[in-house]
Amino acid sequence: MEGDQDQSRLLQNQLQQALGEGRALRIAGGDSKRFYGNRVDGEILSTRQHRGIIAYEPSELVLTARAGTPLRDIEAAVAASGQMLGFEPPHFGAGATLGGAVASGLSGPRRAYSGALRDFVLGAKVLNGRGEILQFGGQVMKNVAGYDIARLMAGSLGCLGVILEVSLKLLPRPEAEQTLCFALNSRAAAAKANRLLTQAVPLSGACYSDGQLFIRLSGAGETLARCAQTLGGDGGDSDIWAAVKEQTGDFFSASDLPLWRLSVPPATDPAALSAAAAAATLWDWGGALHWIKTRLAADEMRAIAATAGGHATLFRSAQAPGDGVFQPLLPGLKKIHGNLKQAMDPHRLLNPGRMYADF
């Protein structure tokens, strides 16, 4: 495509220069997810011009592209061949790139049914903190040669290396989709979403907002029609999925309160969570992902999440807690994280502090 270029060498040079001068770097693609994670002070290392789809063969179900490739270009390209990104990544802005999607590791509503972003990562080319370009994983469905550093990059927030290229597994696009809507209380809605999983229903989304459970079905047209008839409910607006994924609905825009993300086991009682946080929740992933707007202290939110068997992240807020937006790690894990940072980026050059203050 026009504008495609390989800037690996340029990025490598920039990194090596920064390495020589001991300057920290803040990696940025479209910068659409800058709000996510802790604040990083550093010179911008931009991957935005390092773009282009390198290989895409529909019969292989694999796409390889450079980090700066706009997510929307990738989605359009695979859609044209009847395929899709199974993890439905949030963009949070028009300029969202593949590299940013992988580094943030975030997945959309389909995650509970067809897998998370990390599940679709097959390989990655990475620029580590020593300025070396390394290739891990590959373009094939299975690869267990060496440690799975490619998958480790998913959600690492650029703290372990600059993602240069990624190979992703794709899924065939369903023939049709249909959204159903049920007026239920939160607890009953979660129970229903959980129950549907064990029934012969092609579920691809289940979220809850403001007294309504939304169910998305994906599959052959006739099957959807038959399932919709059996399930009952009202026809729902399919825009709900984009709104939940991109956080554009009323729930997200109604106030400036800090937005918390609670990731919990799917059978968690949503009513108990929202009672504990004294706030309404919008939940996704069939009940495993809760968005809560509250002024409650970070410690309280983390305790609520931990009690449920999960963790809490301060997703959007004007101000971050002293110990960062992510749930703190236990000492043993913290040590391993520090060692891994040391292994990949020994001079703490890349996105220092974005995930945790120590690295």
Partner: protein
């Protein structure tokens, strides 16, 4: 290659006094859990790759996580290497013992601790057999998806260590996609929990890193696996071919047809006959190749899918297509496939199983090239593999009692792996590098990448005590091995598409 640990190529191991080690271990674990006499140690000298044999210094069989941690503490204190072993069914020598090391056998930790029906998870110990999980949850309409062909015997701990796949992973993923949480002991004996009961965890994705790490980063002592509801319907279709390459091309055609089969497997004539001799699955003995294609999901979708696949197979040149008539026949079709490796033991005393993975479009060309290599080396190759994933399992048939045959088989295997890399693939899709493919890692990764692997290893195990000599070669080894494999800028098989 010599598979024996070579201090010059694999790193020095500090000598340790066996009596001191024995005494220190006896202080923390019952004497009956330590095997030390020659006759007790011998049967532990190899895993599923019986051509590689090393008698361990000691075998330890802990019965609890606490005992396991205590053993690790002792080994860490005395700087004794530790090789973990589950059911010993691995095919890459990942659990090959060290003469100067402890073999830590986790097969007595074999309890299913908890089944959570609401969240559809099970908490199991590492020694639990893969199939035992699905059997235990079957009454609740659930199952554990990854199904390596050895699932009747292999342990879930070993599955995690190798990131095991199986015949259904094209649709349902590998082990890494089907586990949520791991309890892992570090070499210092510290218990860490990585992952969680939720769908994600703060920090780096350590379960992704540890899964498939071949016992090099920690010892897995508890696993929380995801369970899936049994699909409403599952049907398997057999396509019969008079030509292996036609079958290879049919694979790509199915995927290109927008179908994601639950399993898509291929067997060639040798494999068909061996499996048929064992289980009488009803495979056509005279066919050059068969494809088994399973579709699952909602009944109507499965039916329409089966029809579509049948058409694709016939268009691709299948001489016949058969649909398993009922659940029993479906199981029989799979039982034949899953027993095909050992069943080949009926044809030849030994087999050497390769595990290279390639892009699907290269299947026909690579199968053809392997046929040529087989003729060149005068060793038959039986093919039975995960065609949908492009994951080849050529079984090189040989007789280890004939001098030089093992070496010949290894050399042929090496050529096949090289072929896979050149086709844009990898040397191992699911069996792991282990000891067996340690040299071939040097073909796939460059110096910086290997160095990065070692740095990651040190993040978990600074003194390199966990399974040394496996998975990641030293640079010294690559230097040695690279010298043996000069390509001269010449590529074999120029018909393959290059990357």
């Amino acid at each position: 290659m010599s598979y024996k640990y070579d201090p010059q190529l694999d790193g020095e191991i500090r000598p340790v006094s066996r009596p001191v080690l024995l005494q220190s271990l006896t202080a923390v674990i019952p004497a009956a859990a330590i095997l030390h006499s020659e006759e007790q140690l011998k049967p532990y000298e190899c895993d599923g790759l019986s051509a590689y044999r090393v008698t361990p210094m000691l075998v330890v069989l802990p019965e609890t996580v606490e005992q396991t941690g205590a053993v690790l503490k002792v080994c860490h204190r005395l700087k004794v290497p530790v090789v973990a072993r589950g059911a010993g069914t691995g095919l890459s020598g990942g659990a090959l013992p060290l003469q100067q090391g402890v073999l830590l056998v986790l097969s007595k930790l074999n309890e299913i601790l908890h089944i959570d029906l609401e969240n559809r998870t099970a908490v199991v110990q590492p020694g639990v057999r893969n199939l035992a999980i699905s059997e235990a949850v079957a009454p609740h309409g659930l199952y554990y998806a990854p199904d390596p062909s050895s699932q009747i015997a292999c342990s879930i701990g070993g599955n995690v260590a190798e990131n095991a796949g199986g015949v259904h992973c094209l649709k349902y993923g590998l082990t890494v996609h089907n586990i949520l949480k791991l309890n892992m002991l570090t070499i210092e004996g510290e218990l860490l929990t990585i992952g969680s009961d939720a769908f994600d965890t703060p920090g780096f994705d350590l379960p992704a890193l540890v899964t498939g790490s071949e016992g090099m980063l920690g010892i897995i002592v508890e696993i929380t696996v995801k369970l899936l509801p049994r699909p409403q319907a599952a049907k398997v279709l057999m396509g019969v071919f008079d030509d292996v390459q036609k079958a290879g091309n049919a694979v790509g055609a199915i995927i290109a047809g927008g179908i994601l089969p639950a399993g898509l497997e291929m067997m060639d004539n040798l494999a068909i006959r061996a499996a048929e001799d064992f289980i009488q699955a009803g495979y056509p003995r005279e066919a050059e190749a068969i494809l088994l294609c399973e579709l699952d999901g909602i009944a109507e979708d499965v039916d329409s899918g089966v029809e579509k696949v049948g058409g694709i197979l016939r268009d691709a040149g299948a001489t016949e297509t058969r649909i398993a008539r009922d659940e029993n026949q479906r199981k029989l079709f799979w039982a034949g496939r899953k027993s095909a490796f050992p069943a080949v033991g009926r044809l030849y005393p030994d087999y050497y199983c390769m595990d290279g993975t390639i892009p699907r479009r290269q299947l026909a060309a690579v199968l053809h090239a392997m046929g040529e290599l087989s003729a060149q080396y005068q060793l038959p190759i039986a093919n039975v593999f995960h065609a949908g994933d492009g994951n080849l399992h050529p079984l090189i048939l040989f007789d280890a009692n004939k001098p030089g045959e093992l070496e010949k088989a290894e050399a042929l295997g090496g050529k096949i792996l090289q072929l896979c890399i050149e086709a844009g693939g990898t040397i191992t899709g699911e069996h792991g590098v282990g000891r067996e493919k340690i040299n071939h890692m040097c073909l796939q990764f460059n110096t910086e990448e290997i160095r990065q692997f070692h740095a990651v290893k040190r993040a978990f195990d600074r003194e390199q005590l966990l399974n040394p000599g496996k998975n990641i070669p030293t640079l010294a080894r690559c230097a040695e091995f690279g010298a043996m494999h000069v390509h001269n800028g010449e590529l074999p098989f120029p018909e393959l598409e290059r990357f």
